[in-house]
Symmetry: D2
Subunit: 135 residues, 4 copies
């Protein structure tokens, strides 16, 4: 699948860090979340993770690998792409760069659910088409 | 008002800290929140901050003063007491100690609301009585 | 003191919210922190909260009042100004607006310290001058 | 490797949740972190993640799968075990249960580093022995 990359720029904030002087490992997921939310809004035209009152996306898997520490004030670029789009689930891949060097990558898998029944449903057609165009 | 103190013990965790090597200033509110939740459960017999589907408590004011930094692994004792109980609002006071020394104190003011209308309501009678007994 | 306002725009993220469907009370401090950091960088020309290896700013007081809840996706504008500048301490005031309506305001008081001795020191002259110009 | 399980009990707090009414996906890592810290302290006799000023553990991989949502007030049991212990790295596995049902599992991989050089080092002998005994 040819991937159209979307890049989200942000800086490491004091609350992202911990007393090791680096971004706390779970803190990198903030960058994934923000990058996906922004991708979602600008490329897919939907609000993440609640499309409307009925259809929500919930995360069913998360993972990240950390290659180099990020520190307070570092400018990070988070690249995001849809690497797999099923009928009900989406796999998004993320890579975080600092000055061109990859420092972290990872994945989020999200499933569309009926928010009332809390049961997996198919991704709405119009959204599925926009996802394929941006994957 | 004579105050019956309730104490919540917890340790500073790595995610509470920031790259200054101390608990992030906003992180102390986690200790306030946990102490109040535990006080609420064991003394008032209610689940904080949502009593049921209709009546919730929402925070309308928070403040804290920091006297000495807390660091990773520090054992903290958070004392909590109701210092003011109105018809619709509660003022809770908190003091955080490390080895007997006060390192932080502060306040949360919470208002009972109708969760559907999002409008202030009176604190339920039975709860108001229990609050007075524990204030 | 005439105040020169600086405004930081950000959106409410999913991780800012809690199960009441609104921004968690302690979550508003993220907006204060980001606004101050950005003000600091663009107006004062320094990196917050660690100027260098020796001089840091630490928060000695925080407070906020909440007038209306903010929800996922809300666009917020956080206005920041220095309302008091002492020899060793700074008082910053914040107001958060959504579509022109004030939903939260509050204060952070920060003290300059020698990071090695962890003792209050005077704010460096050049910085003090820039602060006065921006207060 | 026969695994000796260690269990950490905690409750879902309001700040763990987001506006979907469930624990935010990145919030489960708090339970992993607390469980590992507690395991580390009571079984291995060391403070996680900084053994001393020279030897720290840093996370190089994290992952989690989410099977069912956890909600405010849920009592969770987080089981932790060392599933792989190398010369320089540790793989810890976590499973989170609510009333006997698995709702989440995942892994953290941590590497021992020299905190000054920020370079991988061997896990100290005495610790390695205690790890093997508890794996």
């Amino acid at each position: 699948m040819a991937r159209k990359r979307f890049v989200w720029k942000d800086r490491v904030r004091i609350y992202d860090t911990d007393s090791q002087g680096i971004v706390h490992y779970a803190g990198y997921y903030r960058f994934f979340t923000d990058a996906f939310e922004q991708f979602s809004r600008s490329r897919l035209g939907v609000e993440f993770p609640m499309l409307d009152n009925n259809i929500w996306f919930v995360v069913v898997e998360s993972n990240a690998r950390y290659y180099a520490p990020a520190r307070l004030g570092d400018d990070l670029r988070t690249s995001v792409s849809v690497t797999q789009a099923g009928r009900k689930a989406l796999r998004m891949s993320f890579t975080i760069y600092r000055k061109g060097t990859k420092i972290c990558d990872g994945t989020l898998v999200q499933v569309a659910i009926d928010s009332k029944l809390w049961r997996a449903v198919e991704i709405p057609k119009t959204l599925a088409i926009r996802i394929r165009k941006n994957a």
